[in-house]
């Protein structure tokens, strides 16, 4: 894989990188549930603390994380503004035509944006620390009970991993074709929309031709090796539930319990403290 950041795998040998892909998948799902469970700001802070801890143990540079958030910045702005404008709150500060900006609206849209940011951080952490192959293997293993209701889990996994494997190959191919056409004077970033779209033809056609050729070759190669998805294939890398995975599960569980507790003001334990009460309320 060259400069393509699909799957964005960030090589390192941190704690999280060494965890079992299946466990990471489950934990990410649990994390997503936690994000949606969070109701007040304190529980959001708990979720954020969870993802920050995970980032620290994964030794992913903060700049990398910020970049993945930057990728959705437009969505964030859009969500923020829409929620701000259309929320029907009571304490209205400013209104014009159908738009009302209210205290409740501000709180709500901040929460929505926060929620998106946390979701992106959690899921990219998975792709930063797990190779695409790891993710497909993990999914295959998690879905394997479905075999009993005749879902071709292994075939699906093979298709997925081939598709993933081919993305960098095709992107390299695009690079090469683009260079060859540029060398013949093609330019892809000038002119109006129509001429730009037309300029893509000299790339797309060779790309499709080569994709089909590669697919044919791959099918032949699989056949030539008598490949078939027999039920008892063994694996090159066996996945194992280790101490890191246990630690990860316990850590995430603690945070989820914390989120639920904060959502419910620790079941009234802190109601007497004025400032804390306000934080729980919003």
């Amino acid at each position: 894989m060259k400069d393509i950041t699909l799957g964005q795998y960030y090589p390192s040998d941190s704690f999280t990188h060494k965890m079992d892909a299946r466990v990471k998948l489950v934990l990410v799902v649990a994390f997503i549930v936690a994000v949606f469970l969070a109701k007040n700001f304190l529980s959001y802070i708990a979720v954020a603390a969870c993802v920050i801890c995970a980032t620290l143990v994964s030794r992913i540079p903060i700049s990398k994380m910020l970049k993945s958030i930057k990728a959705i910045i437009m969505i964030l702005i859009f969500t923020g503004i829409l929620n701000l404008m259309f929320y029907n709150g009571e304490t209205v500060y400013w209104s014009w035509w159908r738009f009302n900006v209210s205290l409740e609206g501000i709180i709500f849209s901040v929460k929505m944006v926060l929620r998106l940011v946390l979701l992106v951080m959690g899921t990219t952490l998975l792709t930063f620390t797990t190779t695409p192959t790891g993710i497909t293997d993990g999914m295959e293993s998690l879905m394997s009970p479905l075999k009993y209701i005749k879902v071709p889990v292994h075939d699906i996994a093979v298709i997925m991993s081939i598709a993933l494997r081919f993305i960098p190959i095709l992107s390299e191919e695009v690079d090469k074709i683009m260079m060859a056409q540029k060398a013949r004077g093609a330019s892809f970033d000038t002119g109006g929309l129509v001429s730009r779209a037309k300029a893509l033809l000299p790339i797309l056609i060779p790309l499709f031709v080569s994709a089909f050729r590669r697919a044919d070759e791959l099918a032949l190669a699989l056949d030539a090796r008598c490949y078939n998805a027999t039920p008892n294939r063994t694996r090159y890398q066996v996945m194992k539930f280790g101490w890191r995975d246990l630690a990860g599960v316990i850590g995430t569980a603690v945070f989820i319990v914390l989120v639920v507790a904060l959502n419910n003001n620790f079941w009234g334990a802190y109601q007497s403290v004025e400032a804390a009460w306000w934080l729980f309320a919003v």
Partner: protein, 283 residues
């Protein structure tokens, strides 16, 4: 037109775990009329270097001058540069896209501002020089041709815009011996007309020895030799110290000399070797 590269450096994916230095302070000059060979192990930076020459890769540090055009300047007329420096990639047949052969070959000339008539003429000439007849295949789809014909059409598509410098990145990879010879003799043929300078990247030392008058050797992104084939293969130890190989003719010459049969010809092609042996036998 002289090509001059000064202190070129290039790093892929800088500041990431994938960081890879592909060129490390490379400087050389190619004079008009030269046929320059670029050799080196795989991954030594040959393709990276050649892609600098027509601004497919922007210079990170260092300078390149094409004649008096400075490629490291802020604004470079890319079309002018790419018209002057034509580039043929490995497996060029994969760049065919148009619905007819004629349109595909005209693609380059038209991009470089040739008029309709001019482009048609250029296409016809280019197809003729690669041994194809425009009347016969001009209206066919490039995808119904044989592999060999496809490659020729692709080559025609590059030379149709009449570049002054032709850069070939492993032009003969994946061809049979006859095909290899055909391509290289086509290149020598072109060098008699509008192409003034040729730069060939190759792993095949026989080709380098036979066709080039100068060679540069890259090793891990560094330029470790800038000489003539004679110097490289007969009078230096560069080949022994890298993963390069000798041309077959030079190998034969060296074997003979192990048996005490010394030849004083450089033996860079078969004729030279044979006449060297014959000369030695006569004397």
């Amino acid at each position: 037109m002289q090509i001059k590269a000064e202190n070129l450096n290039y790093v892929y994916s800088p500041k990431t775990p994938f960081e890879k230095t592909a060129l490390d302070n490379v400087s050389f000059t190619v004079n008009e009329g030269d046929t320059l060979g670029i050799v080196g192990a795989t991954g030594s930076g040959k393709s990276t270097l050649t892609r600098h020459l027509n601004a497919l890769i922007r210079i990170q540090s260092g300078k390149i001058f094409l004649g008096d055009v400075d490629l490291s300047a802020k604004r470079v007329d890319l079309k002018e540069v790419r018209k002057k420096v034509g580039m043929l990639f490995q497996f060029p047949e994969y760049q065919l896209f148009a619905d007819t052969v004629k349109k595909d070959v005209e693609f380059g000339p038209k991009n470089f501002g040739f008029g309709d008539k001019e482009a048609a003429c250029a296409a016809e000439d280019a197809l003729r020089s690669v041994g194809l007849d425009i009347k016969e295949i001009g209206d066919k789809s490039p995808f119904e041709l044989s592999g060999g014909q496809m490659r020729r059409v692709a080559i025609a598509g590059v030379i149709a815009s009449k570049p002054e410098v032709l850069v070939l990145d492993e032009p003969t990879a994946g061809l049979d011996p006859v095909g290899k010879r055909e391509i290289l003799s086509l290149v020598s043929e072109l060098k008699k007309s509008f192409v003034k300078t040729v730069i060939i990247v190759s792993h095949n030392m026989d080709e380098i020895a036979e066709y080039c008058n100068r060679v540069i050797v890259l090793d891990n992104g560094k330029l470790i030799a800038d000489t003539t084939p004679d110097e490289l293969f007969n009078r230096s130890d560069v080949v022994d110290n890298t993963e390069l190989d000798y041309p077959h003719t030079v190998k034969i010459k060296r074997m003979l000399s192990e048996f005490g049969f010394e030849i004083d010809s450089p033996a860079l092609n078969v004729e030279a070797l044979v006449s060297g042996i014959l000369g030695r036998l006569k004397s």
